[in-house]
Subunit: 277 residues, 2 copies
């Protein structure tokens, strides 16, 4: 099977590593950055690399897109004549509902786009930070649409499992966005707000423990990508933030009222939920 990865950044590069480890040898790479291509080839992650990839797509059974969400549409438009008929495209985009609607409008009928979301990544950008270690034991989501063929859904699922993902769930794009608004985007918004709410000049670094370190790790964030993700899932994210603020306000009220019993009740609930996770 011929596979092309478009975008060999931190995610695409990790895919290349995961595929190599899983035994796929005919993997090709497309990236606008010359250094990235050279590095991917010298690491043995791709057989050949190129900046545009038309010739690769004509032979590719599977095209993996690991580029910014807003670039996917342009990529499909630019290459609609180039895809091998009957081939499969998949992606790694963190939002689905609006994104899929956009893509479906322009997608050629002779290719099958399996929309996927590997729930693993790193704060850093670029192939230098790529590692398939983050895939191991992680969750993978596929959001099937009506026109997807079962064998193609199975193909993407099997590759994910071979690369070390622990669970592959198939859910609707709508449910994906609702869940991701809560489990991924809300934590990122919280981390950013936490560190941005620090007052200047307090030498905060001398007064932190693991909790502050853990809760702000993802405040180091790819601003281009995450602003797209936030705005592409606006309503779900706003709902998740509002629900979170309601809970935080309950804690605030209990503190304000010196209500130890109620605080302890919230803590017992959160502990039970965390243990179950």
């Amino acid at each position: 099977m011929n596979i092309v990865i478009v975008g060999l950044g931190v995610i695409g590069g990790s895919f290349a590593m995961g595929l190599k480890e899983a035994g796929y040898n005919n993997v090709f790479g497309v990236d606008v950055d010359e250094h990235t291509l050279t590095k991917a080839k010298s690491l043995g992650l791709i057989k050949e690399g190129c900046k545009t990839g038309e010739s690769f797509f004509k032979e590719a059974d599977l095209t993996i897109l690991a580029i910014y969400p807003k670039l996917v549409k342009k990529f499909i438009e630019d290459n609609k004549e180039n895809f091998k008929p009957g081939s499969v495209i998949t992606d790694a985009t963190g939002i689905k509902e609006m994104f899929i609607k956009d893509i479906i409008e322009i997608l050629p009928k002779n290719v099958d786009f399996i929309f996927g979301h590997p729930m693993a990544g790193r704060e850093k950008k670029g192939i230098d930070f790529a590692t398939n270690d983050v895939f191991k034991g992680a969750n993978y989501i596929i959001t099937p649409i009506e026109r997807n063929k079962k064998e193609n859904l199975d193909l993407v699922e099997n590759i994910a499992l071979k690369m070390g993902f622990k669970r592959v769930k198939r859910i609707t794009p709508e449910f994906h966005d609702e869940m991701i608004g809560f489990t991924s985007q809300l934590p990122h918004a919280m981390a950013v707000a936490l560190i941005n709410s620090d007052e200047e000049g307090r030498d905060t670094g001398s007064f932190i423990g693991d909790s502050y370190r853990d809760l702000t790790r993802i405040a180091n964030i790819n601003e281009e990508l995450w602003s797209e993700l936030f705005l592409g899932n606006k309503n779900n994210l706003l709902k998740a933030i509002n629900n979170f603020e309601l809970e935080l306000d309950l804690i605030k009220k209990a503190i304000h009222d010196n209500d130890k019993e109620t605080l302890m009740k919230y803590f017992r609930r959160s502990s039970a939920r965390r243990e179950k996770l």
Copy 2:
């Protein structure tokens, strides 16, 4: 030097391990739990253990209190006749201003209480989860008060450094509580609110990545201890929560307004702050 640790739970037990590794051999333990004392002794962490400790205190040059904040006052009252004159007491309490005022009122004149806060811990309770690994590279805060002797402040600082703490800062109790409200208590309140704001029955565990895992780790929380800490630092914590909510509301507004530029500005600020940490 004779040292007594009062409370051999997750923190006191970690102290015992840290002291052992640092070469202190005359360490004694006090705990209400028989199993804990047996375990501490069988691990070679204490020379002798006992449930009350009067005889230990009479010989102790340093008494380390690793018990719940509200038990410290009762401990001092019960033992005010027992302390060796000129000896030092220190603690591990996560709040200082109100706490110190309470203690100072009843503290015998012939002992010197050095108030300290090792900024390391675990979510779990009890000696079974104790490990001095959490001390290594961590921050330690001492909040000197007027009656403290310099040599006793230095003693506690040196022991902290010998146990592997990286930085020991001396600050006022007021500043301690302000900083801890922000760096420790706020993250705990956020983690609890995050996991409690999840809706039931969504199989959330299948849709999480490292971010949700990291941000909810401390939602598994000792309810007795943390309700005391929250209420004992009420005003600072409420202020920290309010500042955080203001930042989160800015993010919400930018999302609501589809204002990508502003979102990216917040993300650049948070990334720069996190890198500096």
